[in-house]
């Protein structure tokens, strides 16, 4: 049953990929929403009220009630506004989608974050880990569950595209800022092609910040991390890096 799009508000941060996931989903559903920018180092009283457990963005407020955790929010959006579904209908397809969403947040994103927050041998190991994870995705796209598809969701962007796509831009950003090779087209041709296609979609272009803003942001954080780790105290900056990864 479709709800009228009443009072939807999103608490988010402009450089946070989990916020982008929710923004993109709301856009794809054609939903109007109010947006409140949060400073993730200094959460507002509203954010602390609506996400007391994790105290993080994004938080979706609908009809005065709050939903947090981006993949939970995406499913809530899909089940509340049922036009233009982002989850597949078939139960096995849904399981495959959920599995790779879990993989993205459990394995890929932490490895990417580690590339950003480490250096030397530790960074090299993190880069290798990112490559291992991308290989698994490449294989699924080429020969496995997603073979022959334009997007993970089929002809149109689905939930897994949203989860994986909003965050994959950090690969290009970190490549430039850290001078490492993360996602070269020769090694990951199908994934690379999917990401380019995803980033060309109108709603995605309207959601993801311009790359020069992201580059400037990443360089700033990296500088801070390096200078703080030289004076041996960087947990809040690592938190900043992690929550934006």
């Amino acid at each position: 049953m479709d709800q009228p799009p009443s009072s939807v508000k999103l608490l988010g941060s402009w450089a946070d990929s989990h916020t982008h996931r929710v923004q993109l989903a709301l856009k794809l559903k054609g939903l109007e929403f109010e947006y409140q920018e949060e400073d993730f180092i200094n959460p507002s009283p509203a954010l602390l009220l609506h996400n007391p457990v994790y105290k993080k963005v994004p938080a979706l407020l609908h009809g005065g009630r709050s939903i947090v955790e981006s993949v939970v929010i995406l499913q809530y959006i899909d089940e509340t506004w049922t036009d233009n579904p982002i989850m597949p209908a078939d139960p096995f397809e849904r399981a495959v989608t959920r599995f790779w969403c879990h993989f993205t947040d459990d394995k890929l994103a932490p490895a990417v974050g580690l590339v950003f927050s480490s250096s030397g041998e530790g960074q090299k190991a993190a880069v290798d880990q990112v490559h291992e994870n991308l290989k698994l995705l490449e294989r699924e796209l080429k020969d496995g569950a997603f073979k022959g598809r334009r997007f993970f969701g089929g002809d149109k962007i689905g939930l897994l595209d949203i989860v994986l796509g909003c965050g994959s831009y950090w690969l290009a950003v970190f490549e430039e800022v850290m001078e490492v090779k993360l996602i070269d087209p020769e090694s990951f041709p199908v994934f690379h092609a999917w990401l380019r296609d995803f980033e060309e979609q109108q709603e995605v272009k309207e959601t993801i910040p311009a790359i020069d803003r992201l580059l400037e942001y990443a360089r700033g954080i990296r500088q801070m991390m390096l200078s703080l780790s030289n004076s041996s105290s960087s947990s809040s900056i690592n938190n900043a890096a992690a929550s934006s990864g």
Binding site: V53, H62, R65, I67, V68, E69, V72, I73, Q75, Y76, E79, T80, P91, F92, R94, A95, V96, R98, F99, H102, F103, K107, L136
Partner: protein
């Protein structure tokens, strides 16, 4: 649409709480399935082929197609076999159940792992963290999901959170014995204790 009978096989291990979750959910739904006990020190070629990403149990194979990760499997089971439902109908309630289910994996599982693998101060810290997070879970589900009536978070019948927590009961008790520490205190977490105790008493859970 009539449910087509499916060939269902579960690769698991007797001491894994995650496997108990899937095992119990299938039994609660009355699904016929074959069970394969894996030797985790010597994993079968089949398991490694069916779960190449994580190489772990549980793996549910339905008509030859594998699904891994316990929370993914549980939601799949609920999608396919509708009765009795593990998730509520209302999207907001479903979001709350999913949030707290994810919380178990994010905030309870890691300290349990550290309790098992560390010593001294590190272990004490992990124990304190577990207890504190368990209380957060208790308060959260009590406020957001529980409507007094029945032993389970879901009410008279177990839902997804009851399956998850109930399946951890044996492992937690064992850890308390081995570690010599109280992790679950009835007066601090009465609802969680009630659902775990009621869960392990269910015929489908006790049975073969």
């Amino acid at each position: 649409m009539a449910d087509q009978p499916k060939e269902v096989k579960l690769y698991g291990h007797g001491f894994s709480g995650y496997c108990t979750m899937v095992n119990s959910a299938l039994k609660l739904k009355g699904v016929a399935f074959e069970y394969v006990e894996e030797d985790l020190q010597n994993k079968s070629e089949a398991l490694l082929r069916l779960n190449p990403v994580y190489k772990k149990v549980p793996v549910l194979v339905v008509d030859g197609e594998p699904i891994a990760e316990s929370l993914v499997i549980l939601q799949y089971i609920d999608d396919v076999w509708k009765n009795p439902p593990l998730l509520p109908e209302d999207p907001y309630q479903r979001a709350k159940v999913r949030f707290w289910a994810d919380y178990v994996y994010q905030k309870l599982v890691p300290p349990v792992y550290r309790i098992r693998t560390s010593e001294g101060d590190a272990r004490k810290k992990a124990e304190e963290e577990f207890r504190a997070n368990l209380i957060t879970l208790e308060d959260g589900v009590r406020e957001e999901l529980w409507s007094a009536g029945g032993s389970f978070i879901n009410g008279e019948k177990p839902g997804l959170l009851d399956v998850i927590m109930g399946s951890c009961h044996t492992g937690l008790k064992y850890l308390e014995d081995v570690a010599g520490v109280k992790l679950v205190e009835k007066d601090r977490t009465p609802l969680l204790c009630s659902c775990m105790e009621a869960f392990v008493e269910l015929d489908v859970v006790k049975g073969p």
